[in-house]
C-alpha cells in the first residue's frame, strides 16, 4: 500500500516539477551558502584596503571583482554585505507576516466592528508611502538592524492582512468550521487550529514574496544611507560608490546584481509555490 500523500507533500511534488522554481531555489541556496559560509573560504577583512581605489574587475589577480572607492575588495565586501541584507529581509518579512496574519485573522474571523476598525487601520497604513514612513522611523529612532526590520515590518503588513482576512472570510463559512464549533471548540482554537492551517497555502506564497520585498526595502534604506552604520550591506555599497559612478560602474553594478539575483530567485520560488498550490492556474 502506498502512503497517503499530504496536500503539502503533493504541492512539494508539483513544485519540483516546475523548472524555473527549482532553478530559483538552487540559485537561492548558492547565494545563501556564499553569504553564510563564504568568509570561511575566503578569510579576509572586508575593511582592508587591498589595492588602489576603483580597480577594474580582472585588472589585478586575486581581486576578481575589482575594488571600491576606498580600494576595498568588492568580492569580500559582497560576501560580508549579504548577511545584513538577508537578516533584515527575513526578520522584516517574519514581522510583516505575523502582524498581517494577526490583523487579518481577527478581522476576518470576528467581522463586525472589529473588522471595520482593523480594515480602516489597514487602509490608513496603505495611504502612508511605505519607504518614506520607514525613513522617518529609522531617522527618529536611530538606524540599527532591529529598527530597520521593525520599520519595514510596520509598513508592509497591510497586504498580508487583506489576504488573510479574505481567506478567513471564505473558510469560516465552511462546514468543518461549523462542525468544530458544534463540538465546542473555542474561538482561539478555531482561529489557530482549524482555519489558519487551511488558509496557509496562499499565505506561504505571500510570505515568500514578502521576503523579496523586504530585501528590496532594506537595500533602498541602506542606499539612502539609513542602514545600520556598523555593518556593510549591498544597498549601502551602491549608495557609497554612486558618487564615483562616472569613473567606475562596477562598484555600483555588482552589488546591484547581487540584490537582483537574490530577489529574482526568491520570486521564482514564490511563483513556483503559487503554481504548486493552485494547479488550476498553471496554464496562465
Amino acid at each position: 500500500m502506498t502512503k497517503a500523500v499530504s496536500p503539502l507533500g503533493e504541492a512539494w511534488g508539483q513544485f519540483l516539477r516546475n523548472k524555473p522554481a527549482v532553478a530559483g531555489l538552487a540559485l537561492l541556496i548558492v547565494i545563501v551558502g556564499f553569504v553564510l559560509y563564504g568568509h570561511f573560504l575566503f578569510n579576509a577583512d572586508p575593511y582592508r584596503i587591498v589595492w588602489g581605489p576603483l580597480t577594474a574587475p580582472g585588472e589585478r589577480e586575486g581581486i576578481p571583482l575589482g575594488t571600491d572607492f576606498l580600494g576595498r575588495d568588492i568580492f569580500v565586501l559582497l560576501l560580508k554585505g549579504g548577511g545584513p541584507t538577508m537578516a533584515v529581509g527575513l526578520s522584516a518579512a517574519l514581522l510583516t507576516v505575523v502582524i498581517g496574519i494577526a490583523m487579518g485573522a481577527l478581522a476576518g474571523y470576528f467581522g463586525g466592528w472589529v473588522d471595520d476598525l482593523l480594515m480602516r487601520l489597514t487602509e490608513f497604513f496603505q495611504v502612508l508611502p511605505a519607504l518614506l514612513f520607514a525613513m522617518v522611523l529609522v531617522t527618529l529612532f536611530a538606524p540599527s538592524l532591529v529598527t530597520i526590520s521593525f520599520a519595514i515590518g510596520i509598513v508592509s503588513w497591510p497586504g498580508t492582512a487583506r489576504l488573510t482576512r479574505a481567506e478567513f472570510l471564505r473558510i469560516r463559512e465552511l462546514e468543518y468550521v461549523t462542525a468544530a464549533r458544534s463540538i465546542g471548540a473555542g474561538n482561539s482554537r478555531i482561529i489557530w487550529k482549524v482555519i489558519l492551517p487551511n488558509a496557509l497555502p496562499p499565505l506561504i506564497v505571500s510570505a515568500a514574496l514578502t521576503v523579496g520585498v523586504a530585501i528590496l526595502f532594506e537595500a533602498g534604506l541602506s542606499f539612502l544611507g539609513l542602514g545600520d552604520p556598523n555593518t556593510i550591506s549591498w544597498g549601502q555599497m551602491i549608495g557609497q560608490n554612486r558618487n564615483f559612478l562616472l569613473e567606475a560602474w562596477w562598484p555600483v553594478a555588482i552589488p546591484g546584481l547581487a540584490i537582483f539575483f537574490t530577489v529574482f530567485a526568491v520570486s521564482l520560488v514564490g511563483d513556483g509555490l503559487n503554481d504548486a498550490f493552485n494547479p488550476k492556474l498553471r496554464s496562465r
Binding site: P129, G212, G220, L224, R242, L245, A253, S267, S283
Partner: protein, 326 residues
C-alpha cells in the same frame, strides 16, 4: 445627486485619513528619544537657547500632551507645518516648491507604465503561449527584482555616459536661459531617464496584469457575441475586450500610488531631481524633522487624492457601479 454625495463622502474619509497622519506625526515626535523641542529643532548644532524657547512657546510644549496635540492640529489646519531650521523657511512653502517636480515625475512614470504595459499585455494576450507572452512573464519578474535606484544608475551609465543621449542628473541644464517651450523641452529631456526608471518598475506589473485580465475577458461570452456581429479582431480587442479589462487594471493602479511615491523618492535621489523625495533625503541627512514629517504629510495627501481620483474613474468606467445595480 448620488455622485456628488459619493464624492463628498470620499473627501470626508480622506480628511479623516489625513487627520490620522497628523496625529501619527505628533506622536512620533514625542515618542522619539530626546526632548520634543530638540527633535523639532533638529540636530542643527547652532540652535540657540532663545530659539528653543521660541519652539517651546510655539508648540505649547510646557502644557499637557492633549493640549499640545490640539495646538499642533490647529497649526496644521491653518497650513502651518512648522519651520525648517535648516533651510530657515516655513516647511509648507518649501514643500509646495518641490511638489510640482514630484507629481510630474510620478505621473509620467505611471503613464508610461500603464500605456506601455497595457499595450504589451494586450498584444501578448492574443497568443497566451507565444514568445511575447513568455517575454512578459520573464520581464515582469525581472522588472520587479531589480532595485529601482540601481536600475536608475545603470540607465545613467548606459544612456548618459556610454551613449550620451540624456543628462546624468538635474531638472534643467545649469546655464539654461530659455523660456516657454524651450524650457519645457529641456525639462522633458531631463525627465526621460528618471521617468523611465520609475516606469520600468511598474510597467512589468501592468503588462502581466493586463495580459491576465485580457485572457480572461477574451474568453467571455460577450466577446463571442461581438465576433458573431461581424466585428473585426481589432474592434473586438480594443473596443469590447480592453474596455472591460481596464477595470482590474484601474483597481491595481489605485493601489500603486503609495509605492509610486516610495519609488519616486529613490529615483529623485539618484537623478538629483528637485522633488519632495530629494527634499526628504536632504532633511534626513540634516535631521530636519519638521520638513521630513511635512513631506510625509504631503505625500500621504497625494496618495489619498490619487486614490479618490482612481475610485471616481473606476465608477465612471464600470456602469454596474455607476448606476447602482448589482
Amino acid at each position: 445627486m448620488a455622485m456628488m454625495r459619493y464624492i463628498l463622502q470620499r473627501l470626508l474619509y480622506g480628511l479623516i485619513l489625513m487627520l490620522g497622519v497628523v496625529v501619527l506625526n505628533f506622536f512620533l515626535i514625542h515618542a522619539a528619544p530626546g526632548d520634543a523641542a530638540e527633535v523639532i529643532a533638529g540636530e542643527m548644532g547652532g540652535t540657540t537657547e532663545e530659539m528653543m524657547a521660541q519652539i517651546r512657546a510655539h508648540y505649547g510644549l510646557d502644557q499637557s500632551i492633549m493640549v499640545q496635540l490640539w495646538i499642533y492640529l490647529k497649526q496644521i489646519a491653518m497650513g502651518d507645518l512648522g519651520t525648517s531650521y535648516h533651510f530657515n523657511r516655513p516647511v509648507t512653502e518649501l514643500i509646495l516648491q518641490r511638489l510640482g517636480p514630484t507629481v510630474m515625475l510620478a505621473l509620467s512614470a505611471q503613464l508610461i507604465a500603464m500605456l506601455l504595459g497595457v499595450v504589451l499585455g494586450v498584444l501578448s494576450s492574443r497568443r497566451p503561449q507565444g514568445i511575447l507572452s513568455g517575454f512578459v512573464s520573464v520581464f515582469s519578474t525581472v522588472g520587479y527584482a531589480a532595485p529601482v535606484f540601481w536600475t536608475g544608475l545603470m540607465l545613467v551609465i548606459l544612456f548618459a555616459v556610454w551613449i550620451p543621449l540624456f543628462p546624468v542628473e538635474g531638472y534643467v541644464s545649469a546655464r539654461f536661459r530659455g523660456t516657454g517651450l524651450a524650457y519645457a523641452l529641456n525639462v522633458a529631456w531631463h525627465l526621460v531617464l528618471p521617468a523611465t526608471t520609475l516606469g520600468i518598475l511598474f510597467l512589468a506589473q501592468y503588462a502581466r496584469l493586463s495580459r491576465t485580465a485580457m485572457i480572461e475577458v477574451l474568453g467571455a461570452d460577450y466577446i463571442r457575441t461581438a465576433r458573431a456581429k461581424g466585428l473585426g479582431e481589432g474592434k473586438v480587442t480594443f473596443n469590447h475586450a480592453l474596455r472591460n479589462a481596464v477595470l482590474p487594471i484601474l483597481t491595481i493602479a489605485g493601489l500603486q500610488f503609495g509605492n509610486l511615491i516610495s519609488g519616486a523618492l529613490l529615483v529623485e535621489t539618484v537623478f538629483n531631481w528637485p522633488g519632495m523625495g530629494r527634499l526628504a533625503f536632504d532633511s534626513v541627512l540634516r535631521r530636519d524633522y519638521p520638513t521630513l514629517l511635512g513631506v510625509l504629510f504631503f505625500a500621504s495627501a497625494f496618495v489619498v487624492l490619487a486614490n479618490l481620483l482612481t475610485d471616481l474613474s473606476y465608477r465612471f468606467a464600470d456602469p454596474r457601479i455607476r448606476t447602482g445595480g448589482r
